[in-house]
Amino acid sequence: MKLVTAIIKPFKLDDVKVALKGIGVEGMTVSEVQGFGRQGGHVETYRGAEYQIDFVPKVRVEAVVADADAERVAQAIVDAARTDKIGDGKVWITAVESLVRIRTGERGDDAV
């Protein structure tokens, strides 16, 4: 199993949700986060002091999926979240050692 994590612009959350449901992802977890990347948290055209670094609000989307689906899910997020502007975010995939569905006790791929 793989954990797909994406940091995206908040207004892109709906697009990402629709895209993921569209390819059969059954669940995801969403949280509001802050951070900065290469543009240092600055707005696209900057009039203030360029030496301060600010955190910008982002949304983190996480979904655990089967190994075979991970790349497809990541690509769907990339396609849905892209605005071609700085600050579009990142998507990464990590290995998941084990997974348990709490209610039923199902494990591994069955619990995805």
Binding site: R38, G40, Y46, R47, Y51, I86
Partner: protein, 766 residues
């Protein structure tokens, strides 16, 4: 379409170093930016692409930010700016970008120090050069006009930066950019000069030369690590030295320190003067002259030689002592003048010696004064033996400072302890000289002892006092080494320390020196554990020196009530009994074979470091006592330790696989220092009834388990153990006896012990 930026050639050109690299690199980047600008913005009056800050000064290192301002006339579409920034982001270089008109920029500079100083080095990369010139002139005029307020703010920022980034010249892992004596200090002086052009306080060429030394190191650090880091870590120093064509890291660090030392001194001097001129109230001391006698006076917070005073042989010491006592700086002109002072006669007159001791007794206030003397080459005239220790790095994780700074810090610490000893002067001199041998080949304590004799003779110390200082220097490691590596309950230990010290005055002096030295070394070198051991050792040795019998203080301690209770329980039911008290664990078990190593393994698995341990047998049972500390400074989860112990002692714990797993999880990712070469020493005279085996080498998880397991496999009983961790190294001492209770003296057996322990040291638990 502008082709992508290609920096490969310039980054890979090893013939380009330091400033030449920075200039060539900046040129490549700028040419590309100009092309990009021409394509995106084109030819528009009032608009330009401006480099500011370090980029404006042509100082782009491989990891530098591009500091860019797209200056416009208010009519440029913001989308144009984005078309400019995107290709830059795509190069992977860091970008500080802004899109502003001239009034917006100047407005921002009025209340943002970083923007204001960055605008002092604007440079037109493309577009309307006249507009950039106008911006630069306006920014400089505005900076000069607001000088008073900005410079006070800047002075405070300089202090805060030094506080957080530390020293460059005296730290073993200096921050080349932000540290005291670093690149930023030279830049800040430049900004101050832009505001107060009349300020004639620094020699710009001299500073520029030092600046380039640091710049070169920073360029190669970025190239070597592939990242924009500014702290020159021990692990990168060899590679940076190699890239600069230097023999080794020591040469590099001495060069960096030499440059940083000058920069730090000039910076202190500049900001002292700036603050004085600005009349910031807390630095206002007025220009009233206070006569301090002997032609020395205090003027405006500086100690000076009075006009027309000819420097005498002892003027250097007089001025320095006055400055340290008054917490003042020595005037620049006076420092120059003092170079003309005649040398002190050999030996020094008593008055000069008293002044020298008084200077050393001024504690931390003396450190900056001595730094000033050193800057003017006056310190080496007083102590020529000091020379090879100047800026000498100490490449281990244990130390914080270069040798020379360590000596001064230790002496400053000793100044706070003078009331504890009968001869403060000897404590101060002994501390100042204790590591003087480090810059010379050979055992530094022995070499230092002989150098100390030269120094003491020259400064006119009596033969008796000289001998005491020599003992201090030669044996400055005696107390900490013995206290942490030898069994304090063994009469041989106590007698030998008493014999080395010779009398209780020297013993007291050694004790104070140990404390001063350890505190200056680093936080890892002086904790309550070591402090307590040293105190106990001193107390016992003093008892012997005062004529007491050694057996009254060093003998086998009788069992405590807890131990008796555990022994009774164990003897009765044949089960393992254990008890816990604070950081002490006592284990009593019927089968003593490999007991020690199993307990050591469980403690390692629980993240506990053993600092001290002892083992004894009582009839058929073994009693092991461990003193531990948590590696993470957290409370000790004894319940889990006890559970694991129970299983380990019943042979129900897979010790080696678990240790290997732990070693994998906690693998060190950053090796900051060279570790000691592994070595095993066997000492048969260090104890009355045991063979002492001393093991030195790099620390690793489960090491104590492997060492003691190796001893157990050779059927040796561990009677006691001292375990000390110093940075990344361990020094463990084991008192062992054969199964028959005798010392090991067969050379073949000793060779086997060495081989087994060396193997245990070197094998990596993967």
């Amino acid at each position: 379409m502008t082709p992508p930026l290609d920096r490969t050639a310039v980054l890979g050109d090893d013939s380009l170093r330091g400033r030449r690299f920075a200039v060539a690199h900046t040129e490549v980047v700028d040419a590309w930016l100009a092309e990009l600008y021409a394509e995106v913005v084109g030819d528009r009056s009032g608009c330009a692409l401006v480099a500011t800050g370090g980029h404006g000064r042509n100082e782009l290192t491989p990891g530098s930010d591009l500091d860019l301002l797209l200056l416009h006339d208010g009519r440029l579409d913001p989308d144009t700016a984005q078309k400019l920034w995107y290709p830059i982001w795509d190069t992977g270089m860091k970008l500080g970008h802004s899109f502003r008109t001239r009034p917006e920029t100047l407005q921002l500079a009025t209340n943002d120090l970083a923007t204001a100083t960055a605008l002092l080095s604007v440079r037109c990369l493309a577009g309307d050069a006249a507009a950039v010139d106008e911006l630069g002139e306006a920014a400089r005029a505005q900076w000069a006009k607001g000088a008073k307020r900005s410079l006070v703010e800047l002075a405070d920022a300089v202090d805060a930066r030094h506080e957080s980034a530390g020293e460059v010249a005296f730290a073993l892992e200096p921050d080349l950019k932000e540290g005291r004596g670093g690149l930023r200090d030279v830049q800040a002086i430049g900004w101050a000069l832009a505001a107060l052009p009349g300020l004639d306080i620094v020699d710009p060429d001299r500073l520029a030369e030092r600046y380039d030394v640091l710049l070169a190191a920073r360029v190669e650090l970025h190239r070597a690590t592939g990242r924009a880091v500014d702290r020159l870590l021990l692990q990168d120093q060899d590679e940076v030295a190699r890239r600069l064509g230097l023999d080794d890291a020591d040469v590099l660090m001495a060069r960096v320190a030499g440059a940083a030392r000058t920069i730090a001194w000039e910076s202190d001097e500049a900001w002292f003067e700036i603050r004085r001129q600005l009349g910031a109230s807390r630095f206002r001391r007025g220009d009233k002259r206070i006569d301090l006698g002997h032609g020395v006076e205090l003027v405006g917070g500086r100690v000076e030689l009075a006009d027309g005073t000819r420097p005498e042989a002892d003027s250097v010491l007089r001025v320095a002592t006055a400055a340290a006592r008054r917490r003042a700086r020595i005037g620049r002109a006076t420092l120059e003048w003092l170079r003309d002072a005649p040398d002190l006669p050999d030996p020094w007159p008593a008055e000069a010696r008293d002044l020298f001791v008084e200077l050393l007794g001024c504690g931390h206030d003396a450190v900056s004064v001595i730094e000033s003397l050193d800057h003017a080459d006056l310190w080496l005239r007083l102590v020529p033996e000091w020379a090879p220790n100047r800026s000498r790095p100490q490449r281990n994780a244990y130390h914080r400072f270069t040798v020379d700074r360590h000596l001064l810090e230790a002496t400053a610490n000793a100044a706070a302890l003078v009331e504890r000893v009968g001869r403060p002067d000897l404590l101060l001199l002994g501390t100042l000289l204790h590591d003087i041998g480090k810059g010379y080949p050979g055992d530094h304590a022995i070499v230092g002892r002989d150098l100390a004799a030269d120094v003491c003779r020259r400064i006119g110390l009596s033969a008796t006092d000289t001998a005491v200082v020599q003992t201090l220097v030669e044996h400055h490691l005696l107390l900490p080494d013995v206290a942490t590596r030898r069994d304090l309950d063994d009469p041989v230990t106590v007698r030998s320390v008493a014999a080395h010290a010779g009398n209780s005055l020297t013993l007291e002096l050694l004790w104070a020196l140990t404390e001063a030295d350890s505190i200056a070394t680093g936080t890892a070198a002086w904790g309550s554990w070591k402090e307590g051991l040293v105190a106990a050792l001193v107390e016992r040795a003093r008892h012997v020196l005062d004529g007491g019998d050694v057996t009254e203080v060093a003998a086998t301690v009788p069992h405590t009530a807890t131990q008796r209770d555990l022994v009774a329980r164990c003897t009765e039911d044949g089960q393992v009994a254990l008890s816990v008290d604070g950081d002490r664990l006592t284990v009593v078990a019927p089968d003593r074979h490999a007991l020690f190593s199993r307990v050591a393994a469980v403690l390692a698995l629980n993240g506990l470091d053993v600092t001290e341990a002892s083992a004894r047998s009582e009839g058929t049972v073994a009693i092991d006592e461990f003193r531990v500390q948590s590696a993470f400074g957290t409370d000790i989860a004894w319940t889990k330790v006890e559970r694991d112990l129970g299983r380990a002692l019943r042979g129900r714990l897979a010790i080696e696989p678990r240790l290997a797993e732990r070693a994998r999880s906690y693998r060190r990712t950053r090796l900051t220092a060279r570790t000691l070469d592994p070595s095993v020493r066997v000492l048969n005279e260090a104890s009355a009834d045991s063979t002492v085996v001393e093991v030195v080498g790099p620390d690793s998880i489960g090491l104590l388990y492997r060492l003691t397991r190796a001893l157990a496999d050779l059927d040796l009983d561990i009677r006691s153990a001292k375990v000390a961790t110093m940075g990344n190294d361990v020094v463990d001492a084991f008192y062992v006896r054969t199964a028959e209770g005798a010392k090991v003296d067969d050379p073949d057996d000793l060779a086997e012990i060495r081989a087994a322990l060396l193997h245990a040291l070197l094998v990596q638990p993967v």
